[in-house]
């Protein structure tokens, strides 16, 4: 435990000993700030003349401002996490310090969790920017704290999912650019696949003339594929949760996502015992 903490502390500090930490947090602050101002303007316009936007009464604050803004922050995290995670293990391997880590009296879990929590720490630093925006809103209008709490939780859970993915990719690459690119590619793929799932028709694609047993089989396989495409998407589980509607399956999705890639990272570490 103390070792995990020590690894985490060094990793977190090294983000701010090099420019990368400032760059990431700075970019996040700039982009999320602009997004915040934009959504605030839109909300103000909607409140002045709700009928022009198809509302009969003043639009719900959480639904039209808070939730979209937080989901946007989650997507922004998706774009920025590869920059956080690409160096975690790839850099250690590239400059050889992995040899130190692996010959010091550490367990694999000290290294993996230490790195994971350090990256999560950067994410939480980024989220402090969101907290500033929320405090600004809070000073203008009161809102349900649960909405804010679960909104932030959404960003944190999405972030931890992307971080675990990036950590795994970093554990199997030596080059930071490769590591970042693959992480970004997979994240983006998981994002667009959801849009594809929504567009897929529900009907069984097998021609009606085919034998019944084959049709049933294809029908099930297709439904499974479509379900996967819709459910695997990283943002599909964020929208409702950011509104404060918390369903166990949404939280479970992100936790399982994180656990799965952490598990793969452990296996990647162990592979040094049998790979030649």
């Amino acid at each position: 435990m103390t070792n995990t903490f020590a690894v985490c502390r060094r990793e977190f500090a090294s983000f701010f000993l090099t420019p990368i930490g400032y760059v990431i947090v700075g970019m996040f602050a700039a982009i999320s700030g602009i997004a915040f101002v934009l959504s605030l303007f839109t909300f103000a316009k909607m409140s002045v003349e709700p009928t022009a936007y198809g509302f009969t009464t003043a639009p719900d604050f959480a639904e039209t401002l808070l939730s979209p803004y937080l989901v946007f922050c989650g997507m922004l995290v998706m774009f920025l996490t590869p920059l956080i995670t690409m160096r975690l293990l790839a850099e250690e391997k590239h400059r050889g310090t992995m040899e130190l880590l692996l010959t010091w009296p550490l367990r694999d879990r000290d290294i993996i969790f230490g790195k994971f929590f350090a990256a999560l720490g950067i994410l939480i630093t980024m989220m402090l920017v969101i907290a500033v925006h929320m405090a600004l809103i809070g000073s203008i209008t009161p809102f349900e704290p649960a909405v804010l709490l679960f909104g932030l939780l959404t960003v944190l859970l999405m972030g931890s999912a992307f971080i675990s993915l990036g950590l795994f990719v970093s554990s199997v690459t030596r080059n930071q650019i490769t590591s970042g690119t693959i992480t970004f590619g997979i994240s983006l793929l998981l994002y667009v696949v959801g849009n594809l799932g929504e567009k897929m028709p529900t009907a069984n694609p097998a021609p009606p003339g085919w034998p019944e047993i084959l049709r049933t089989f294809i029908g099930h396989a297709y439904a499974l594929l479509r379900g996967l495409a819709m459910e695997l998407s990283v943002d599909a589980h964020a929208g409702e949760m950011a509104l404060g509607i918390v369903q166990p399956r949404d939280i479970a999705y992100y936790l399982l996502f994180t656990a799965f890639f952490l598990f793969l990272t452990f296996r990647a570490f162990e592979s040094r015992n049998w790979r030649t």
């Binding site: 103390t2 070792n3 020590a6 690894v7 060094r10 090294s14 000993l17 090099t18 400059r95 050889g96 310090t97 992995m98 040899e99 130190l100 692996l102 010959t103 010091w104 009296p105 550490l106 367990r107 040094r272 015992n273 030649t276």
Partner: protein
């Protein structure tokens, strides 16, 4: 202290180390001598638990390296060949981190740091960033890192490479001082270094151990110099190797 039995390591189909068997008593300073690519680093990396052997077993203080990695790693200080360091950290920051990693008690960390920095001639370098350091000072930080926590076994992969003559003398006398309290296994391809520092030599060539003996035995037999003894040992391996292929 170190017992190695039939240690073999394959990288793909290439055997980097074949059937290495040797043992080192507590307090000895033993030199691993061999041409480049002979398998010195491979043997050391197995002993330190960086990667496992393909076959055979290695014990440090009675613990098998692959079965009890933590126990072994607590007893071994290791200087890797290219001295990897966290370049963005300061000397002191890095060594504090190392002390923490090696489980030095919080109250003793400052004392331990002073001790290793004093020993490695880093006393005035604490605030310097690692990437600014010259090769010689990097090497010292690497050795300080290995000494931190005072492990009974020290495994040093080419500790004097890249140093200037003055520094080489310093490091060698430091290693000699370490003998007795510590068991030291160091690798080198500089012949005179072995005769100056080590009690015993293990000569390794193309993955095979071709000779192991005390300095006196190796050179005194037939009044040979260490160079001759080394060349003979390596040559005997070469000729037996060609016979095998024929």
């Amino acid at each position: 202290m170190i017992e190695v039995q039939g240690l073999t390591k394959y990288f793909g189909s290439i055997a980097a180390l074949q059937d290495a068997t040797f043992s080192i008593e507590a307090g000895e300073i033993v030199g691993f001598l061999g041409p480049n690519g002979a398998g010195k680093s491979t043997a050391m990396r197995i002993l330190t638990g960086f990667f496992p052997a393909s076959r055979g077993e290695a014990r440090i203080d009675g613990y098998e390296v692959h079965e009890n990695p933590l126990e072994v790693k607590r007893r071994v200080g290791y200087l890797p060949e290219n001295v990897p360091l966290y370049d963005e950290m300061t000397v002191k920051g890095f060594l504090t981190y190392v002390a923490r990693m090696k489980g030095v008690a919080r109250t003793q960390q400052a004392e331990e740091l002073d001790r290793v920095m004093e020993k490695c001639g880093l006393r005035d370098m604490g605030k310097r960033t690692l990437h600014q350091l010259s090769k010689g000072y990097r090497q010292r930080v690497g050795i300080a890192q290995a000494l931190t926590g005072s492990p009974p076994v020290l495994i040093l992969d080419e500790p004097t490479v890249g140093l200037d003559p003055g520094q080489i003398v310093d490091i060698r006398s430091m290693i000699k001082e370490l003998g007795g309290d510590h068991t030291v296994l160091l690798s080198t391809h500089i012949l005179p270094e072995v005769s100056m520092v080590c009690d015993r030599v293990i000569i390794i060539s193309r993955g095979h151990i071709v000779a192991q003996d005390t300095m006196e035995q190796l050179t005194a037999a037939g009044g040979k110099t260490l160079e001759q003894a080394f060349m003979d040992a390596v040559a005997s391996d070469r000729s037996s190797g060609t016979e095998e292929t024929q």
